[in-house]
């Protein structure tokens, strides 16, 4: 199976901040979560992938086509849901869709209208007057109406209520269900990624800290519980972070082959535990 999206050694400087040597790939039919604290570079990365920011080096390939060389053909395949509104605020939903729909080879206005009806988007209201949730739905409806294969979403769930967040995750699953399309979405809300993401790219300070299947990521780390003394004298190798509390302490470590944690109470960490402990532990071993 060929990569649907391939990012190779992407570099970009924006003011004081730098994206450093970003590389990862995504095959068709999967959901990839881009994770990281605020300021880690998720939005900058997405902007650079979409060629909104001109890259300083490296390559972005969609279906083996390079973004800068074949920009129009590449963007024809991309559906976007971005944090900032890219449409004309003073024009109505339907006029925006018609106008920008002309830029795509397979835009289907009828389909767009059907999505709007299902999502409850008023066609004649101006885009600027839509609520945050409606703006996301509008972008999603538009993205789904031109036969896109790669969906790139930048913090789509930020500022949305849990009900709609769940709906959004369901839509993402529907998108990838037939195995031909993929979703890349950035978020700092890990619950959304916990069950449904296939791959996680964790960013830190402008670089990719890790990129792997979610199940593998969760198997890579462990949280070990114990008393203060137990945790202080933990005999394990790759301990990344320890936290001592009034009613119990724990250690976050990278599991090593052959190590036996049987004596202690151990659990597989949640993504938010991983992010928290890595951040607190400085992303390296104690």
């Amino acid at each position: 199976m060929e990569d649907l999206l391939k990012v190779e050694h992407l570099n970009k400087r924006v003011g004081e901040f730098c994206l450093k040597d970003i590389s990862f790939s995504l095959k068709p039919g999967y959901i990839m979560g881009l994770l990281g604290v605020n300021g880690a570079g998720k939005t900058t990365l997405i902007h650079t992938i979409l060629n909104l920011y001109k890259k300083d080096g490296g390559g972005v390939y969609v279906d083996d086509m390079e973004m800068e060389e074949e920009e129009r053909a590449v963007k024809d395949k991309i559906g976007f849901v971005l944090d900032e509104n890219m449409f004309e605020e003073s024009m109505s939903v339907i006029r925006n869709a018609k106008g920008f729909g002309k830029l795509y080879s397979k835009f289907d206005e009828e389909l767009f209208r059907i999505f709007c009806k299902n999502f409850g988007i008023p066609l004649n209201k101006t885009v600027g007057s839509l609520s945050t949730g409606m703006k996301v739905r509008f972008q999603l409806a538009f993205a789904l109406s031109h036969d896109a294969v790669l969906f790139i979403m930048d913090e789509p769930a930020a500022g949305l209520d849990p009900l709609f967040r769940k709906e959004l995750m369901r839509y993402m699953q529907e998108i990838v269900e037939d195995g031909t399309r993929s979703v890349l979405f950035s978020t700092h809300i890990t619950e959304d990624l916990e069950k449904m993401s296939d791959y996680i790219v964790l960013m830190r300070d402008g670089a990719v800290f890790l990129s792997m299947p979610t199940v593998d990521l969760k198997e890579r780390y462990r949280i070990v519980y114990g008393t203060k003394e137990q945790i202080e004298t933990l005999p394990f190798f790759r301990v990344i972070y320890k936290e001592y509390g009034e009613y119990g302490s724990y250690a976050f470590l990278e599991s090593t082959e052959g190590e036996d944690y049987g004596e202690y109470e151990v659990k597989e960490p949640l993504l938010e535990d991983i992010m928290y402990c890595l951040e607190k532990g400085g992303y390296s071993y104690v």
Binding site: G29, Y30, I31, M169, R170, Q173, E174, V176, E177, D178, G179, K195, M196, S197, D198, Y199, P213, T214, V215, K218, E219, V266, K267, E268
Partner: protein, 121 residues
């Protein structure tokens, strides 16, 4: 076939799926030759990632409970009931051991524990 993912459980999700499907096979809820849902539709139904269901099916295949036919899907194999039963018994023994340990902590004698079992049976 009922599969439920428990978030408070210590087991990784794919193992939970494996467990539930195994149970369904043992209880003959699904029979040998039955086709299992596709990896992707199962993922969607359970609201988990595709790699999770893929992993689960790979596990089940490794354990010899299902087999795959390229282009068609996954099917239930006739289970080696003896082996399965042995496995289940082993699991139960493990849990029994834990329970006995707890009982010892509470200073229960073997007779008291036996009485408990008799009552609850």
């Amino acid at each position: 076939m009922n599969i439920r993912i428990r978030t408070d459980n210590n087991l990784p999700i794919y193992e939970q799926i494996v467990g539930d499907i195994k149970k369904a096979i043992i209880n003959s809820e699904i029979l040998p030759g039955d086709m299992l849902p596709s990896i992707r539709s199962l993922a969607r139904g359970l609201e988990v990632s595709i790699i999770t269901t893929k992993r689960a099916y790979e596990e089940l295949e490794k354990e010899g409970l299902i087999y795959s036919e390229t282009g068609k899907g996954f099917y239930v194999k006739k289970p080696d009931t003896k082996k399965l039963r042995e496995e289940q018994l082993r699991e139960m023994e493990g849990r029994l051991e834990e329970w006995i340990q707890e009982g010892k902590k509470l200073n229960l004698t073997m007779e008291e524990m036996q009485d408990m079992i008799k009552e609850l049976y």
